[in-house]
């Protein structure tokens, strides 16, 4: 019923979630800081920001993140997926250190260690809350959405 151990394919999905999110956020940050101040009085300028190159790349990465995130949530708990995919922050920090040669402070190394330990903690546990019986509320047995529920057994 519940998936206690993940398949290699599912680890791949979690890795995709981990990498796309921080990279996408970095692109958004770079795009937004180079724009002039945006005020609530002119919300349309936020929409225009979406079409600038950095923001557009960031959004493309975040779409990839969202697709893999939805997939992960369909077979794992939210409280498993969120800490497990936080490892992406560590990967980005390590890329910055060893590829871009950016210095990493002691505080950041502490953060890397804490996240890694936290991910190790959650990864050793079950990925999905075991429910004694699937609720007999399966009124939508028609169509494809119900298929997933049926197959999750």
């Amino acid at each position: 019923m519940a998936y206690h151990k993940l398949l290699p394919r599912q680890y791949m999905v979690l890795a995709l979630v981990s990498l796309c999110a921080p990279l996408g956020d970095s692109c958004l940050s770079r795009g937004m800081t180079s724009l002039p101040a945006i005020s609530l009085a002119h919300p349309a300028t936020l929409i225009a920001a979406v079409f600038t190159p950095w923001i557009a790349v960031g959004i493309a990465l975040l779409i990839g993140f969202f697709a893999s995130y939805l997939t992960a949530l369909s077979w794992a708990d939210l409280t498993f997926v969120l800490p497990a995919t936080a490892l992406g922050n560590v990967v980005v920090a390590l890329i910055a250190r060893f590829w871009l040669n950016e210095p990493i402070s002691l505080e950041r190394w502490a953060g890397i260690v804490l996240i890694t330990v936290g991910v190790g903690f959650v990864a050793r546990g079950p990925s999905l809350t075991e429910r004694p019986v699937l609720h007999a509320s399966a009124p939508a047995e028609t169509g494809e959405p119900a298929l997933g529920r049926e197959q999750a057994r």
Binding site: T33, S74, L78, G148
Partner: protein, 135 residues
């Protein structure tokens, strides 16, 4: 180079409000989306049987998913807005780490997930770690 908006012009109350908006909308969005995906079922299996179109249709026919996406979109625009007024070194660690904790609470309350000691420990460790890393 364009100088970004000065963070010093933003009051601390406004900063708290902006970060709270991100955290609350993000938590609502995550919990609603997670609930939607649980009701849809294993997307990998749906895709194996019905193809990508079938998987997309399964997601798009779930009303809860749209509620989740609405809140996630609100969270996204709150983030864009906050990044325009505050430094990334404040917004990123504060919103990311707080969201981990609020999500753990919300998942336990609303999704009835088994947030045991292991998951609490993990959430708190990652929360502090993300704060240190992004600060």
């Amino acid at each position: 180079m364009t100088i970004p908006y000065s963070a010093a012009q933003t009051s601390s109350w406004a900063a708290v409000a902006m970060i709270a908006a991100i955290v609350l909308t993000s938590t609502a969005g995550e919990v609603l989306t997670a609930g939607a995906m649980k009701s849809v079922g294993d997307l990998d299996k749906i895709r194996a049987k019905w193809g990508l179109k079938g998987a997309i249709r399964a997601v798009l026919t779930c009303p809860l998913f749209f509620a989740g996406v609405t809140f996630l979109a609100l969270s996204f625009f709150s983030l864009l807005f906050a990044l325009n007024h505050l430094n990334l070194s404040l917004v990123a660690p504060a919103s990311a780490s707080l969201t981990l904790v609020t999500n753990a609470v919300a998942a336990k309350v609303f999704l009835k997930e088994n947030v045991d000691r292991r998951r609490w420990t993990s959430a708190v460790l990652v929360c502090i770690g993300v704060y240190f890393l992004a600060h």
